[in-house]
């Protein structure tokens, strides 16, 4: 995919992080390995939980789609690298009243930015922006429509590797609304690139893309079959809108068939881990007992997320 050339410099180094689809395994591994060393930056033994790596660099969080959570994680990561952070929440309606997307980006580029972190409701927004910014500005996609959420995919891989070791041994199940999920798409690309031999998706037909098999996954409609013997269960959030769009009758029926409860979890390997990108809908896709249980690594994901984002920013800034 030509999107790949857009992300890499001529000599194969990362220039933008827009999607995990088509990125070579060595780059994904480089990010995971670098993130490892950033974990210790926030340890208690340090007074100053920062490194001066990105001192003097200006990082702009440009969020066309609201998200305090993700924006905050990026902000923390940037500040731990001693970068200056500017937060911009660009309301969709104010956009339609005047400035085009590209005009907004052009104006921001003129403000001596070094990096844009962009979240947008439409697939390919990061690509469009990357095609139009000055060459020294790096773009990190914080979520574009249903397409990609590369840093989430990476932190999920970091988590998997941390608890479960090399990917070529793993059996993983992704459960939930794949159709609308950029997180799931990024997870699938990462898992297949990093050599995970069995990636399963579990969802009702109404929440799966028609050609999902083409993405290299095994499809299950029943949770009990889909998570049998897996090393990790990657849960996806179910949004309320799905009930309104005639894809699901109710949260209750969804929970009964695809909600992860302790009983269902027993079907996975006894030491299987449970992951969730957050925020969780307790009682809809996941039972509190599982979310707070021994096998849940959900809180670690948050910590790892900061280290992974620090790694991505450092690698980009140094290229």
């Amino acid at each position: 995919m030509s999107a790949n050339n857009l992300q890499l410099t001529d000599d194969g180094r990362l220039r933008h992080l827009l999607t995990l689809d088509g990125l070579p395994a060595r780059i994904l591994t480089q990010i995971l390995d670098t993130a490892e060393s950033f974990l210790s930056v926030s340890e208690a033994e340090r007074d100053v939980k920062k490194v001066p790596l990105l001192r003097g660099k200006a990082i702009f969080n440009i969020f066309f789609e609201n998200s305090t959570r993700t924006r905050t994680t990026f902000e923390i990561a940037a500040k731990r690298l001693s970068a200056d952070v500017v937060n911009l929440n660009i309301n969709a309606s104010s956009q339609s009243k005047g400035e085009t997307l590209l005009d907004t980006i052009a104006n921001l580029s003129a403000m001596q930015a070094d990096m844009f972190i962009v979240r947008h409701a439409a697939a390919g927004a990061g690509h469009l922006i990357a095609r139009h910014v000055a060459p020294h500005i790096h773009i990190i996609n914080a979520g574009d429509g249903r397409c990609s959420h590369p840093t989430q995919g990476l932190l999920d891989m970091f988590t998997l590797r941390h608890y479960k070791g090399p990917f070529h041994n793993l059996r993983v199940a992704i459960v939930g609304d794949l159709l609308h999920s950029r997180v799931a798409r990024s997870q699938i690309h990462a898992l297949t690139t990093l050599g995970c031999p069995e990636v399963r998706v579990v969802a009702p037909q109404t929440l799966l893309p028609r050609d999902v098999k083409n993405m290299g996954v095994h499809v299950f409609h029943k949770l009990s079959e889909g998570i049998k013997g897996v090393d990790a269960v990657l849960m996806l959030r179910l949004q309320n809108e799905r009930m309104r769009g005639a894809r699901l009758p109710s949260a209750g029926e969804y929970f009964k068939h695809w909600g992860l409860t302790p009983e269902k979890l027993k079907l996975a390997k006894p030491d299987a881990i449970v992951m969730h990108p957050g925020p969780m809908n307790r009682g809809v896709e996941i039972d509190s007992a599982v979310a707070d249980g021994m096998q849940s690594v959900i809180l670690s994901q948050v910590t790892f997320g900061i280290a992974v984002r620090m790694a991505v920013m450092s690698i980009l800034a140094g290229n």
Binding site: R13, D33, E45, R46, D47, S314
Partner: protein, 167 residues
Amino acid sequence: MPKQLPLPEQLIDLLAEQIKPHILPECALVGIHTGGVWIMDALAERLGPDLPRGVLDIAFYRDDFSRIGLHPETKPSHLPFDVEDRNILLIDDVLFTGRTIRAAMNLLFDYGRPATIKLAVLVDRGGRELPVCADYVGLRLDLATDEHISLENNETEGLHFVMKRKP
């Protein structure tokens, strides 16, 4: 270029002799990855294996990040003791421009405020670009700008020096 490369083990013995009489209370050894850590472990055997030890990786404190980017292999820094009011003995293999030591000190200060920092190096090869000097030196060498000495470690030879010519 010296005709014969020095033997690290001998230099470590020399360093240990210099340092031993001056070991302060509340002392901690801090080695700079990778060579400094090997030396620190070897020194600790001679100075006191119970002395607290820490390791530093200065990758995130280098001053050439914007030129050469992030080093592909970075190990985590780890100081399992309180740096506050500590007498630190900073240890590295080769002292050259002094930039590594500056980065190491910046990193140390992000952990806390030490009482003192003393520097021990196995080889001081001259060529300083910053006002840094070592308190304890195993060997002083005067090398040309295109000559580079480094410490390596492997199964067969153990610790040994390697000399290279690079423009």
